[in-house]
Subunit: 199 residues, 2 copies
DNA sequence: TAAATTAGCTTACAGTTGTAAGCTGAAATT
DNA sequence: AATTTCAGCTTACAACTGTAAGCTAATTTA
């Protein structure tokens, strides 16, 4: 048996265990090392062979969540390229993502306003990535000036994330309703941005 | 000595103790009953003479925070009446509020996406109040149709809260910058809503 | 093949938590 | 004046936490 491989596997099972514990009732700070170890199927003290801290594990989770988010963006772009409105397609893709990966999105959402400065900073970094990508995209497709495109992207991301937060607790019908309202609101922003650019 | 009065005083000191513990590193779920009791200057078990749970205390805190928020709104309206742009004045008032009552705002923000369904629901209720009031205000001052006014108000509240979250960690200069950007973004929404109403 | 490394284990400990049981003394009621 | 009520107390306990110390067995290296 390869030792490195086995170690990686255990590491993975720790990460997976942590994600599985992050349901609607638990946050990173309320998940204990022992609990993670229990679910991962290792002794509590073995945890330290893989992570210095529970916090180090937390940062790893945030990184993974951010990665998933960026993959989501790429997926949305592909869908847009193959037809459909930009806003509508993006919102639908996003809503699907948070339904299927609710624990991943919940992590980002919760730690975004959580108790650990390091986690908040890490989440903010991921959101910044999102902002930058959306700004570029907006600029290149609409020709808006950078400053305006940036403001628009930032507002949109905030609105989308806020609505996503609401959608996490919502029933399927309510989710659909939220998505429709969100699309209209994003159009408000897009149109308002265009008007600001013209003046 | 009046007994009822004394009990109310102790209750107050428990609430104040809890608020004082909710700094940038602590959330309701991470504050222990014993810790609150310690700061309030009572024995741990005396806590139960006032609240059934730590959760019951939490709901009380959310209520108080919501109250403070609505007082903020009234204050903003007064300021608007005595001159100054609606958006600009509101944002300035809001930013002052979260600077002066950062623990109160932090509570709402954190529990909004927190681990307790009851707390999330309670915060959502407070935000709904905010939404309703802003919708009414928008409808009566701009004459927009209810549906549009409602969408606009909701989007604005989400954007303001998101930016408020960012402002909590920010330096004074950054805060100013955030406020200016927020004002522009709110104008995007306002203008976009008007355009939607015209079409 | 012998020696070194190491992932995971068991045991152990001190610190914290929520809360049950029951006492006390002062305020309120009769 | 006698009785009841009750806010706050002390003591106690079982459950949980993070993590230190040190063993084991299997893989890796020499």
């Amino acid at each position: 048996m390869n030792r490195q491989l086995q170690k990686l596997r255990t590491r993975r099972s720790i990460i997976d265990a942590a994600f599985s514990l992050l349901d609607e009732q638990r946050s990173l700070s309320s998940v204990s090392l022992r609990e993670v170890a229990r679910v991962a199927g290792i002794a509590p003290t073995s945890f330290y062979r893989h992570f210095k801290d529970i916090d180090e594990l937390g940062l790893t989770l945030v990184d993974e969540a951010g990665l998933a988010l960026r993959q989501l963006m790429r997926q949305a772009r592909l869908r847009i390229a193959s037809g459909g409105g930009v806003i509508s397609t993006s919102v639908d893709t996003f809503m699907e993502f948070i339904s299927e990966n609710s624990n991943v999105f919940r992590l980002l959402l919760r730690e975004h306003t959580g108790t650990s400065l390091a986690f908040r900073a890490a989440v903010l970094r991921e959101i910044q990535h999102f902002n930058v990508e959306l700004t570029d995209y907006t600029k290149s497709t609409t020709g808006l000036p950078l400053f305006i495109a940036n403001l628009q992207a930032e507002a949109m991301v905030k609105l989308v994330f806020s609505t996503g937060a609401e959608a996490l607790d919502a029933s399927p019908e309510l989710k659909k309703n939220l998505a429709e309202r969100l699309k209209l609101q994003l159009r408000f922003i897009a149109n308002g941005a265009i008007k600001a650019a013209v003046n």
